[in-house]
């Protein structure tokens, strides 16, 4: 939810290469001095190879980076303070409306029709009956005025309210010793968080922003707001919640962003 769709490489040809062109210039290509090219590649200039895809595309490097990222998930789990409350702010600090971000532009948001919407519960949960919006609104409400931080580097203070997530998980009989809580969303987005974060006192299933129902671009009728994770770890337009011990991944996590992404 927090990252722009990466733009295509400017070096990527818009059309496939015409084989005839290659044949026409065969002579020229053969005159390029291979020795010079090799020599150049062993120079300091080789360092710049790190900038492009030439090194990062290599699967061994990718695998090593991914292994470190997984190691960093564990480190972040250890650094996490389950009872530490993050700074909160006053209503005067709240930015209205909140800042939008998704893997597509705000104009492309498809509003969720609440009359047909329901929240499905899956996995290690004893009471798996689906919830409709009115039932969720009857639950006790908690308000958080907290800082939202995006992996891109921007931040703003938002005012969110909804049911405390730990309270909700206890109410539906979720296995609180499970490792992960996974979310699926109406727009095809998915995400997952660790149980410790799900149980943090400042993690809620939000239905309101600035005391009004959340508007369409920001996740109506239901989204996650956790004070201790980057923005993209807060799925919008949630349609299902699963409690599981099997690593669920997520939209951005499957595309190389760090899974834990705790802040």
């Amino acid at each position: 939810m927090s990252i722009r769709t990466p733009s295509r490489s400017i070096f990527r040809p818009t059309q496939a290469v015409d084989q005839g062109v290659l044949d026409d210039h065969k002579k020229l290509i053969e005159t390029i001095d291979r020795r010079k090219l090799l020599k150049g590649s062993i120079s300091l200039g080789a360092l710049t190879m790190l900038t492009g895809c030439s090194v990062t595309d290599q699967s061994a490097v990718q695998a090593a980076l991914q292994a470190v990222s997984t190691f960093n998930d564990k480190v972040q789990g250890l650094l996490f303070r389950p009872d530490h409350l993050v700074p909160t702010y006053t209503e005067a600090d709240v930015v209205k409306p909140p800042r939008f971000n998704a893997y597509y532009d705000v104009e492309e948001v498809e509003p969720v029709d609440v009359s047909g919407w329901k929240l499905e519960l899956l996995g290690s949960i004893t009471e798996k009956a689906s919830w409709i919006a009115d039932q969720i609104h009857e639950l006790p409400e908690q308000e958080l005025i907290i800082r939202h931080i995006c992996v891109e580097g921007w931040d703003y203070i938002g005012q969110w309210s909804g049911v405390n997530f730990r309270h909700f998980l206890e109410r539906v009989g979720a296995d609180l010793t499970a490792k992960y809580v996974a979310f699926r969303c109406a727009d095809g987005y998915s995400g997952s968080i660790d149980m410790a974060t799900a149980l943090h006192p400042q993690t809620i299933l939000a239905t309101k922003y600035a005391r009004e129902p959340i508007t369409d671009p920001f996740g109506f009728p239901l989204r996650l707001r956790t004070a201790t994770k980057l923005g993209f770890k807060n799925p919008k337009w949630i349609t299902s919640i699963e409690v599981t011990n099997r690593y669920p991944g997520g939209y951005w996590e499957d595309r190389g962003f760090n899974w834990h992404s705790g802040i």
Partner: protein
């Protein structure tokens, strides 16, 4: 080898200007710093602090944002673990005390004056002049501060007490930490430009960081009296 035999003193405690562990740590640090800066520039580009500053993609590391983040959070382990080894080495062997201190303002200004007149002597590269001492001690402090501001950017909630200190630079302490992290990077880049330029101007110093350099008469405790040396 012959030259080495001539100048090798009998004192077994004496050693090269840059002992092997130090050379290894120097080059590991150089690699980590380059990775941190190159990937950091890519991460910065996703949400610039200054509208006029956007790093061209070809000098950044990691390809896309997620790649840059992976490189940054991999290289941080190299930088931190190597840095801790270096600090421990410098403190335990007394190298910091011998080589980098004391730094006297009068000597620094005299060195700068001499350098501008091209009169600064480089005959003995085992003895750091006051400007070198200032730069080397300074870069250690800057990198240390850079790790601290980096932790504040990475974990503004888990380390909220630390991050709140950066509200000095911005109403949002998180942005304050980003700003501090940016200027820390800038200081390191300026140091790198000076450091690499001077190392290339006096190539012996560059070679010394590869081979170990000349025998260092300051390395033995008996000779470690920089106060009595002429500057």
């Amino acid at each position: 080898m012959a030259r080495r035999e001539v100048i090798q003193p009998a004192d077994h405690r004496s050693q090269r200007l840059h002992p092997l562990p130090l050379r290894i740590m120097h080059w590991v640090n150089a690699l980590a710093i380059v990775l941190m800066i190159g990937s950091g520039w890519k991460i910065y580009n996703d949400e610039v602090l200054f509208g006029w500053l956007h790093f061209p993609d070809w000098i950044t590391i990691g390809g896309r944002a997620q790649g840059a983040l992976q490189w940054h959070f991999m290289a941080m382990w190299i930088l931190m673990s190597n840095g801790l080894c270096y600090l421990a080495y410098g403190l335990l062997t007394g190298r910091f005390k011998r080589k980098l201190f004391p730094i006297r303002v009068r000597e620094v200004t005299a060195n700068v004056r001499d350098a501008l007149r091209f009169r600064l002597s480089h005959d003995d590269i085992t003895h750091y002049n006051a400007v070198q001492k200032l730069l080397y001690a300074g870069i250690i402090a800057v990198i240390f501060a850079q790790v601290i501001s980096g932790l504040a950017v990475w974990k503004p909630m888990q380390f909220s007490e630390l991050t709140s200190l950066f509200s000095l630079f911005h109403a949002s302490s998180f942005q304050g930490a980003r700003i501090a992290h940016f200027f820390g990077m800038s200081a390191i880049v300026i140091f790198l430009v000076i450091h690499v330029t001077l190392a290339l101007l006096v190539p012996r110093t560059f070679g010394a960081m590869v081979t170990g350099g000349p025998v260092d008469d300051e390395s033995s405790d008996a000779a470690a009296q920089p106060e009595t040396r002429p500057v």
